[in-house]
Assembly symmetry: C2
Homo-oligomer: 447 residues x 2
């Protein structure tokens, strides 16, 4: 590897020779002195060079070299990757971290085109066209370092609790959720479909006797909508557990998992998040509030918001309202809305033992937006088939899935959660486009 | 959650009441006594019940209950999920772990169909039809627990070394590797393609200034072959790093990563692997042997095997031969074959500075089979475009990728590695079908 010092490690070094490598963020080419801000994956540092603008008559080789260096720095284009060896000096007057590096040798490793296609005020869509440049910004970079920490904490929680990681196939012979939002794939002489969720396959781990499983992987929805919360491809965080007694057991694991994730993020990135996002990240208290959906709708109505729907569902503004209520009443960013009407849930959700109009299910709302759906699943094959029929599904098309329940299966439940939504709400961003590495929508397949 | 004790935790408990829950592995229904082997995700335990076969004239309620229990146990079908409360007793004479549970109460949670569709001698293809039953076997279960440990150790290595996790899109506007093995997806009014690897997108993290990245996710190849090593969908383990000086830097990270993974697997599962797979797992020593491909082919030829190819490539038997040589000469299970001929490598591999017929690349062979390809990438846009043309590619079709190199990019390199192959070779299995949760091939999309 290139022998270099990461910018974040410079401050701890004594004055002396160092090599730093990264890209040119800005050049301030003043008459007597030149400043370059060099950024790498860990931070930014000021490089400095006393300018030599012309040679006098008796100029020696050293002066020629100094002129050449000055001209090389003047010619640096924004974004070029360079490697610089020079003298590190601690100097409290330097605003950027109290250090600077006096340039000794400069190597331009890859010169950038002089015209940068995006600027600070570019539209989100334009920034997405040039996502690899957009991601150079410290905020964008931090989002994905936070995501790394968050996911690792989730997986560590699962591994410590004896969950098994599975990789379920994304190519399927039939729909996993709804025929309406299904991508078709030409598959040799036939057709395959892209998995809309790992639902059926994570449930398969239950009759397989895996006990508890998790997966973090892509899911696909041929959803033509253009909201800030929808994508045609997204990263789904999924878990499923045997021997749950109701959706309460799923919620308990779910909230512990999120606390583990947010605790790790706050510990590692809390200061950076405060600096770049102006957010004091809170680790939520346990347990998260739980409100039955019908009760939540009453609370929203009492706040004066009339949900413009004829069915039992809530809408995005209703979710914001109930979140605001929970923040006021409990000081909490999360709320489980529980016990959804059967009309709003898929056939495989288990129904209440005492009220067959309700399911053992929940949605999790985080800062006003739904991030997850969880439920206990129906594991009794006769009930499952009846519920499928009731939803207008043909059990024959679901044969491979229904077979999972015919040879013994434990009671089970789990959830699916959208990673980009969690990140968006954690960092108060306004769209999952900001928290997705490369967003995919109905009109976006590039880069 | 169901209040139960995992089977693996029974041995440490004193004699007394316990509840165990799992599936019926076998019933031995003897005249005087009934034995049930119950298995859960952690192990198997013997349940015992003294049989009551008939009632005499003055039978009391207790006797009736005992008869009912005996009949319930006789009726148990293989695979049914049950929950049993009873008395744990340590007894050295019991072969299965020196413990048994005398059945007090038995609940059949989900009854299995009496005919089990697969048996111990079923073909691999038949077992795959009923994968959820096949996975109940202790060996299959262990494979995925090992995989969980392995992946977590890899990710922990990366996180500790400041890699950023990325989730790259699987829907693309063009091919990522070769037009030949591409799946087409109907995408609203147009067409998308499934990513054959995250190659272009993990490289994109380099001009984005992420430094070091990793991803574990699905990749898709419309490959019509039916070998033991190929699938149409597989889990790819990928990493990419900035500022490498050659493929040597990539190999160094790669071998450290594998040592971290195998160390964790041996520590957690070494004894089970010895018991179920009859393998004493070895943690390989560092560094792994490195042999230039041309030299490797000479070694294979000297061993008397003539590779039946006219080009510079090696073949599967050649890989087995060079592995055998490395095992004999260095006592090592791994070997890097380095410096592949440009004709065998994609356009984006960097070429040797001193020999333009060779690339800065490698394949990693594990116990005779290729598991990974790695390389330094060409980051100089003019050279990259020339190499693409040389391979007969149209740079216009690659515009979005080539743009990554036009606005500054550091030198970089990385590798892609097939998870199922690593698991297959670690456990001496004969096909990736055994080490894939749900295999996908040209004629297999179910379950």
């Amino acid at each position: 590897m290139k022998n270099r010092t990461l910018v974040k490690n410079l401050a701890a070094l004594p004055d002396g020779p160092v090599t730093v490598s990264g890209w040119v963020e800005t050049v301030r080419d003043q008459k007597k002195v030149q400043f370059v801000i060099l950024r790498d994956e860990s931070g930014a540092v000021q490089l400095v060079n006393p300018a030599t603008r012309e040679l006098d008559e008796n100029a020696d080789a050293g002066a020629s070299a100094r002129l050449a260096m000055t001209e090389a720095i003047s010619a640096l284009t924004h974004g070029s990757f360079i490697s610089v060896t020079g003298d590190l000096k601690h100097d409290e007057r330097v605003k950027l971290g109290g250090i600077e590096v006096k340039i000794g040798a400069l190597e331009v490793v890859a010169e950038a085109n002089p015209e940068t296609p995006i600027a600070a005020d570019s539209s989100l869509d334009k920034r997405m066209d040039w996502r690899f440049l957009d991601l150079r910004h410290p905020k964008q970079n931090l989002i994905f370092r936070i995501q790394t920490t968050f996911l690792h904490a989730l997986r560590t929680y699962w591994v410590e609790h004896d969950f098994v990681e599975i990789q379920t196939p994304k190519l399927m012979a039939s729909a996993s959720e709804s025929r309406a939002e299904l991508f078709e794939v030409g598959y040799f002489e036939g057709t395959a479909y892209l998995a809309q969720s790992p639902q059926f396959f994570k449930q398969m781990a239950q009759p397989a006797g895996f006990g508890k499983v998790f997966e973090v992987g892509p899911a696909f929805r041929a959803d033509p909508s253009f909201t800030s919360r929808h994508a045609t491809e997204f990263t789904s965080i999924d878990a499923e557990m045997s021997w749950v007694e109701s959706h309460e057991d799923v919620m308990k694991m779910h909230e512990e998992l999120l606390v583990a994730g947010l605790t790790a993020v706050k510990a590692k990135h809390g200061a950076e998040i405060a600096e770049l996002f102006d957010i004091e990240l809170e680790v939520p208290t346990l347990p998260f509030p739980r409100i039955p959906l019908r009760e939540a709708k009453q609370i929203v109505a009492d706040r004066g918001y009339v949900i413009p729907r004829d069915d039992a569902d809530i809408d995005p503004e209703g979710e914001r309202q109930i979140s605001a209520h929970v923040r006021e009443a409990f000081g909490h960013d999360f709320v489980f809305l529980t016990d959804w009407d059967i009309s709003l849930r898929p056939f495989y959700h288990m129904r209440h033992p005492e009220d067959a109009t309700l399911t053992n299910s929940y949605d999790l709302i985080y800062n006003g937006v739904e991030i997850s759906t969880g439920a206990q699943r129906e594991h009794r094959i006769d009930v499952l088939v009846a519920q499928a029929r009731e939803k207008g599904l043909d059990p024959e098309e679901l044969e491979f899935y229904l077979d999972f329940f015919r040879y013994g299966v434990p009671p089970h439940g789990g959830f699916g959660m959208g990673l980009a939504r969690v990140m968006m709400l954690m960092l108060n961003e306004h769209s999952i486009r900001e928290t997705t590495y490369l967003f995919r929508g109905p009109t976006r397949l590039l880069p």
